[in-house]
């Protein structure tokens, strides 16, 4: 092999490897993982209106799971949701809407009226933050437990054992973020940052940029 051949080939290969290394180490493009499919559902909201998973297509939706007679730490869950609601203006979302949905895991007691009272008490903006429950407790358990991966179990004393968590779902119905309260303190900053990361990916869903975003998925360049 002549030296003339060697030098350019080393240069080109080196540049390619450097580019790849830059992409993987510096992570100029960050994404959120596509974790699981979000479950499909048809719930009833605090005004008695139906809310389905399909109504939320195209929006980013942040879910949490609670019930109106829940003792603390449910209060912290509500505080986090309200903080996200109040600070949505800080995120560059383009024309993508963000919805917050609190799913009550106490369908026996949480009627629409009770949910409406509760929503007012915690300062929910009805255009953004919806409270829902189901008329079918068994299906609710499947949707929340298996679908969203949020464990809950009614106890004999009337309270409900709950593993509190937030779940972030993208416009295509894929779970992109899970924030378990027991593993990490609720962090509205992180959730808001993640909403921005999702919006960036939607903005770059076409053309050459889309390739970079797919590569970011491939190399697991996940936003912290």
């Amino acid at each position: 092999m002549s030296r003339k051949l060697l030098i350019p080939s080393v240069v080109v290969l080196g540049a390619l490897l450097a580019g790849l290394a830059y992409f993987i180490i510096a992570q100029p493009v960050q994404v959120l993982p596509r974790i699981r499919l979000a479950p499909a559902f048809s719930f009833v909201d605090q005004s008695g209106t139906r809310l389905t998973s399909e109504d939320l297509r195209g929006s980013f939706t942040l879910y949490d799971f609670s019930y109106t007679s829940c003792p603390p730490p449910c209060g912290h869950l509500d505080d986090t949701m309200r903080t996200v609601q109040d600070r949505l203006g800080e995120v560059d979302l383009g024309d993508i809407s963000v919805r917050l949905v609190t799913i009550s895991v106490d369908p026996q007691h949480d009627t629409p009226d009770r949910l409406a009272d509760y929503a007012r008490r915690v300062g929910a903006d009805p255009d953004v933050w919806t409270f829902v429950t189901s008329t079918d407790p068994k299906l609710l358990k499947t949707i929340v437990g298996s679908g969203f991966g949020a464990y809950y179990e009614p106890k004999d004393d009337g309270t409900i054992a709950l593993d509190p968590k937030f779940v972030l779902v993208d416009g295509a119905g894929t779970i992109r973020g899970e924030y378990r309260y027991l593993l990490e303190p609720p962090d509205p900053d992180r959730i808001l940052r993640h909403l921005g990361v999702l919006a960036d990916e939607v903005r770059n869903a076409q053309g050459a940029n889309a390739v970079a975003y797919e590569a970011a998925h491939l190399f697991l360049c996940y936003a912290p």
Binding site: E54, R57, G58, G171, G173
Partner: protein, 145 residues
Amino acid sequence: MRRIVVLVLLIGVVAAACGGSAGGIEVTDVWGRPSPSAATNAAFYMNITNGGDAPDQLVGASSPACSVTELHEMYMKDGGVMGMRPVQGGAVEIAPGATVEFKPGGLHVMCIGITEELKPGTTVPLTLTFEQAGDLQLEVEIRAN
């Protein structure tokens, strides 16, 4: 004279096998998927071109292969839920110079209650009724795609 009549009839039959035309309306590529008798319902697809100067409307269809025939369209909501519904007003507008495609995932002639198994390689008769052009006799080619 009789030979001309026969010839015209023959051309008519040949034309009907792949499509047909009347009053400026031309229908091509009429087809449907093979359906087992367990399927109950089937859909027929085609291209309808209005070569005339006036608008026309497809107002109905009928076929001996179907108990009832209706004009349906598929609709898709954001992100993947799909459904079927009868077309609005029960008619499909065919504007002058336009071609309206009836195709999978869009408009289709819904064949409700198939009366026989639709076997690949066979044809079934279909009559399309237009408001202006009147009835058009066609043959639906049964094929996989």
